[in-house]
Subunit: 357 residues, 2 copies
Amino acid sequence: MGYYALIMAGGGGTRLWPLSRRSLPKQALRLVGERTMFEHAVDRIAPIFQPDEIYVVTTADQEEPLMFQAPDLPRANFLVEPLGRGTAPAIGLGAIHIKRRDPDAVMVVLTADHFIRDVDTFRRVLRAAAQVAEEGHLVTLGISPTFPSTGYGYIKQGEKLGDVDGFAVYRAERFTEKPSAETAFMMVESGEYTWNSGMFIWRVDRILEEFARQMPGFYNQLVQVEAVLGTPAYEQTLKRIWPQVTPQTIDYGIMEGAEDVVVIPVDIGWSDVGNWSSMRDILPADEDGNVVVGEHLGIDTRNTIVFGRGRLIATIGLEEMIVVDTEDALLICPVEREQEVREVVRRLKELDRNDLL
Amino acid sequence: MGYYALIMAGGGGTRLWPLSRRSLPKQALRLVGERTMFEHAVDRIAPIFQPDEIYVVTTADQEEPLMFQAPDLPRANFLVEPLGRGTAPAIGLGAIHIKRRDPDAVMVVLTADHFIRDVDTFRRVLRAAAQVAEEGHLVTLGISPTFPSTGYGYIKQGEKLGDVDGFAVYRAERFTEKPSAETAFMMVESGEYTWNSGMFIWRVDRILEEFARQMPGFYNQLVQVEAVLGTPAYEQTLKRIWPQVTPQTIDYGIMEGAEDVVVIPVDIGWSDVGNWSSMRDILPADEDGNVVVGEHLGIDTRNTIVFGRGRLIATIGLEEMIVVDTEDALLICPVEREQEVREVVRRLKELDRNDLL
């Protein structure tokens, strides 16, 4: 049985504005040290996959930079969508490529823009999950919640099916979208829910079966692409069909209605780094509780996130603030109002400031 | 009678850090529009002085940039101190140069790094003051206080001597250093005090008389320089003598003990721009009370001073804050704590960060 990784690296987005931009998505950012989020994603699995077992699905504008960042991977393993259609089509495309190479393959679907602190446990659980997936289960990694997040989806555990290599395996009873604060609190209290990490492990035949059953229209389109895989017609066919594909997420399109889904709860120091305050999850704080990238001179400054590079940032009397300094834009806002960064981005759109988006 | 201006442009200092630096003193800053403070100082008096009637006293490192900013002034009118020795020696040096040109001259001592909003009244009061000075009085311009500042020196008015061109002239009874908050409040309440603007109008023979009486040591040194004025020995003599001169301010060295000092109170929208919050005195606020230089996108941001250039500054939920963005350093602090900017500068000295000082 072959064992392959598919790193989804097609995301855009400006949630970490002003650092992230349309043309500089989160996966391209150097949030931790000098490696990009994508490079970290490849580094994490390099010890358990051969380079040619690692696939990357992305969009045309990101292909070159990603290839540059992961020069060990074969160029053919970069699967380029003519345009992004959400996670479901991206995974479908990955599945037919991997299936063509090995119809019995187990594929591990990974994200390119999340952070994982405990990489050893992460690798161990992937191995365990592969064993579970071989039996035909659709395996999801559920992150043991550390606080009642309203920013993540949740998975409800059902019956426990057993243990594999020290990891408990549960039937996944239900997928829940981002909850209200109250609901999140109750879910975390119950101990029966984990965060939906967006990482999945399954046999390619099983997931394609689910596509056929739950997204038959898309599956039909996918089969047309599969028919020309490895032929000169491939690129043209993909370019013709993909714009007609209806955008869809794997959670909504497949997972919520899939059969035989299991969840393996894990504690791997995972964060999706979905906003600036989550920098606290991925970088250590100094003695004043400040999380700092770059040069900071703080006087009476506490619990503040300072993200800069190349410029001294001097702060006096700040508390629970976010300061993000980039070449052409600077953001200053209280931690508790960081959701309003979206409003800044919206106004920049209104002002046609594409240079800053 | 000749009438000459002496612009004192030798200041250094980092009170407006991170914008001002040792090598970029306040007079070199573009705080209002595209003209430097020094350029504004020259512009203000250009309608009432011929270019060759305007002298500038400065230090060697500032000479070239200042000449570049005021190309209409004769090069010979830039008087260069080998090193700064405070306002008293700078004024003494100016006085002997102007006296050599016209022993009966009235000289107007002006600053290069203050802001004046009502330039018309300023010019009118200078003309009035010149008439008063001709009679032998040492004239000071006293600024009608608009709030109980603890950052300025004060002048107490004595007996009223008369009116000249609509300006009241009082005997100056006492010079007071920067007061406590309580004293400042009482002084402003009394209506008998004005701020010491550092601008003076007097006959050169009268001020040199005061130097001879009150600062005889320095006067003796000054006479040695005067003896070689206009000869090839001038520069060498100045370079030899100036390092031996004891630093002194005109207020402490002369004004506090001078005879026949008068004060003319004026309301000319004057500010010494001594700190970032005084930007409010010199620039209009927007509808949210923000004073902005550069590009600002504020969400729920009020009474905040944003000084940037060339980079978008986006702020959310700031109130009564100061944000100063420069090429290599960024400052963020509450208005009420701006005196602690000194502490930032002190720490940078400790850290030997001369690149930022």
